[in-house]
């Protein structure tokens, strides 16, 4: 049996925010990571757990349009804000231009890094529709692709920017 230590519990109250345009409310400790809330409470498994240490970028989501590491972001800080995840970007039937460009360039192997990379790329193109190659590299600097598809990924973002 799990032991419950009452002194170690934090006060809880519902935290309300929007995810991909839908209103959500979760009853968790304020320090609970946004990634855990997205995956374990809201069932949005598209945002990946990589390192949990802001080292890999697999968990990147947008909060009010800005890329944020969901693995360390405390959900209490999200109250009233707007979260965008890969599930809101597009579906196989209705791909976002970035997703189409990633398919066109075949930019990915195991795919574990792609959700986070696509969200950072979306934030980049939203604020800078025609980025230079070095601006793309800088925007994706916080992301690791262990398979080594970085070159294709950069080309895919370039392609999406051209098509927009």
């Amino acid at each position: 049996m799990l032991s419950l230590d009452p002194s170690a519990r934090e006060a809880r109250l519902a935290i309300a925010f929007t995810v991909n345009g839908s209103a959500k409310s979760v009853d968790v400790a304020e320090t609970t990571s946004l990634l855990e809330v997205l995956r374990n409470h809201l069932g949005l498994m598209g945002t990946r757990y990589g390192c949990g240490l802001e080292q890999c970028g697999a968990c990147m989501v947008l909060v009010d349009g800005q890329p944020v590491y969901a693995c360390t972001r405390e959900t209490g800080t999200i109250a009233g804000r707007s979260v965008a995840t890969i599930e809101g970007l597009g579906t196989p039937d209705r791909l976002h231009p970035l997703q189409q460009a990633f398919l066109d360039e075949q930019a990915g192997q195991c795919g574990y890094c792609l959700s986070g990379i696509l969200m950072s790329a979306k934030a980049l193109l939203d604020s800078n529709p025609k980025p230079s190659r070095s601006e793309i590299v800088a925007a994706l600097d916080r992301h690791l692709c262990r398979c080594g598809a970085h070159q294709r990924i950069v080309r895919a973002v370039e392609r999406a920017a051209r098509s927009a």
Partner: protein
């Protein structure tokens, strides 16, 4: 004719129905024990099956890693998937194609050599016969092992193999849909994180469990076996917080003291070694 050396996977999973099944919607299910880990194997195996059966890629559905319907091919490792699974699928499909043409030839009162296959349909002198894989599949005994006597296609006959085909697994991966093992979240699952030994041989002499519980801020079980400690909680972030806090609340004996000398090649070369 002596059966050639069959791939190990086919020896281990000899029944044809472990590998191939004709679906009612004019597709064929090809099963493999190898799984997609980003190497493109699902696409590549589909290509092999499509060519051997004279089917377009769209009619091949690759079932991967399904232990109920597919073959047991052990692990996906060592760059053996094409050789083992692909080699097996190639032989199975060649065998099934030959059996299907034999059945169709009997119905049409012709020689199998008179028949060609286009999009899974059997043509005689270029004319439709009304026969295809799906009309004759019910007459084939898929519980048999392959004879190994049917010769697969030669390389110059390939139409799909060798083409740069778009990866079949990628659309799900760019839309956040691909299910990784991490995405399987059973009801009432417990999460755990562990405390690692700082070096082999280090022994845990003290662990301030109260301090760790304070840092974890939630329901937590601490499992301790000798120098191994796990932090278990129904809330993933609680287990995570406990493990992060544990490092500073653990006291170790027999810690390895590294000095700059340990970084030198001379130190390494001076260590006991066994030549093999």
């Amino acid at each position: 004719m002596n059966a050639p050396n069959l791939p190990t996977s086919l020896v281990d999973n000899p029944r044809l129905d472990r590998w191939i099944h004709f679906n009612e919607d004019r597709t064929v299910r090809i099963a493999s024990g190898k799984v997609e880990i980003g190497q493109g194997v699902v696409t590549a195996l589909s290509q092999i099956a499509a060519d051997e059966l004279d089917l377009p890629l769209e009619r091949v559905q690759l079932l991967s890693g399904d232990t109920e319907h597919g073959p047991d091919e052990m692990y996906t490792t060592s760059s053996l998937s094409i050789e083992m699974s692909g080699g097996s699928i190639r032989l199975v499909c060649a065998e099934v194609r030959a059996k299907a043409l034999d059945r169709a030839a009997l119905r049409l009162n012709c020689s199998p050599d008179d028949l060609t296959v286009v999009d899974g349909r059997f043509l005689q002198n270029g004319e439709a016969t009304g026969q295809d894989y799906w009309t004759v599949a019910g007459e084939i005994d898929f519980s048999q092992p392959p004879s190994g006597a049917v010769r697969p296609k030669q390389r110059d006959a390939y139409k799909v193999v060798g083409q740069s085909i778009k990866r079949l697994d990628l659309p799900a991966k760019v839309t956040g849909q691909a299910a990784y093992v991490h995405d399987v979240l059973p009801r009432d699952v417990l999460h755990a994180r562990t405390l690692r030994q700082p070096n082999p041989g280090a022994t845990l002499v003290a662990l301030d469990e109260a301090a760790i519980r304070r840092a974890a801020k939630g329901e937590l079980q601490i499992v301790r076996e000798a120098n191994f400690v796990a932090f278990v909680s129904p809330v993933e972030s609680v287990a995570e917080a406990a493990a992060v806090a544990a490092a500073e609340h653990a006291s170790w004996d027999k810690l390895r003291q590294l000095t700059p000398a340990h970084a030198e090649a001379a130190w390494l070369e001076g260590q006991p070694a066994e030549d093999r």
